[in-house]
Symmetry: C2
Amino acid sequence: MVNKKCIIRLLRYKNALHRLNSLGFVRVFSDNLADAVGVTASQVRKDFSLFGICGNKRGGYQIETLLEKLNHILGKNEQQKVVIVGGGNIGAALMKYKGFEKEGVKIAACFDIDPAKYNHREGDIPVLPLEQLKDFVRQHHIRIGVIAVPDIAAQQVLDFMLAAGIKGILNFAPIRLRAASDCVINNVNLVLELETVIYFIINGTESSINNRHIG
Amino acid sequence: MVNKKCIIRLLRYKNALHRLNSLGFVRVFSDNLADAVGVTASQVRKDFSLFGICGNKRGGYQIETLLEKLNHILGKNEQQKVVIVGGGNIGAALMKYKGFEKEGVKIAACFDIDPAKYNHREGDIPVLPLEQLKDFVRQHHIRIGVIAVPDIAAQQVLDFMLAAGIKGILNFAPIRLRAASDCVINNVNLVLELETVIYFIINGTESSINNRHIG
DNA sequence: GATTTATTGTTCAAAAAATCACAATAACTA
DNA sequence: TAGTTATTGTGATTTTTTGAACAATAAATC
């Protein structure tokens, strides 16, 4: 019942609420959130209902309390620390990207096997030898990791990360990973996402797709 | 019926077939593809059926002809050219990433408003002033573009891209874009993808989620 | 060449997800 | 304060997606 799509919607509600909040709004209706996120108002209410979130009949939802509840559900009350394995193109871009910090996600360190990438300048996110992953993860109580290595190395890196105690994976390598121990894997395949757009452009014109968000 | 999830599956079948092909395999069964992609064999056969792809009873599918058919459906027979708008972290990483070229997707150019980013070294992907987008798109018959600018600029950039003739968008900015003209928009929100993993790690432990691919 | 076996293609059933619809009711209005 | 109105929360319904099952049948075997 609580699947990825549902959580993604909650996260989007949270983002929309954050914007409304900083614009000075105090309350919000399911309609408003539906518009902001691109779903129906029923969907919004049902999602809330599923997590026991109540509003006021005719009064809508108090933004502040709604945000608190969503933040609690989504684990956004404390900063979450993650590690990246792979300091190449994608890993480097993620380290520089400001979007994570803004949402309370702290990239604690990056790990690589290439000594040329190692770096421990004050202020920068440290890039460390992969051997140090296990100790680092233990020491900082980290459960989430990003795989940003070439596909050929990804499975091996996953095994290593799981052995180090990582439980949740965001995987950018374009292969299906096999996991022995219990964990959660979320795959992001950038090429696939672009190829999907290409398909709908090539094949979608005759069926007059107008202005469709496909994901 | 032919939705994003279905196309993503087809693209994954294609990738799996490519690997099998380069390993010297000649034919494949729905079971094999199901394993490789993480779906049921029924799903594989149903997907193929939907696109009129037939195999041989008891003989499975001829990899070569299957690949040809999938490539045709997915528009992979000719190289697809795309542009990136935004030469920041994400844009730069995408330009350096080898995965696109490997799959027949050519990043033709990148556009930015910051002159410090402009670059036309031989061999590199050119980074050009945004004003040149329209002419470039016309000249190279480009229909697909990537938005890799800060969220604050994304809507304006989208409007500009649509005006330039772009029809398909891969959007990395974490906001919901509004489009006047007909187009296809695929959103990739990296922070959201990571936050999703965080949710399942925080809330998933008690429900004994074992080794789940959530996307 | 007959028999067995494994795999497809498709129909039917099940499960999941989204949407509709409306009673309940709190907030407004006069 | 009584009446009106807008919005929630949820049960019912529809739509979409997935999975199971099995007849049809081509390949393999003997």
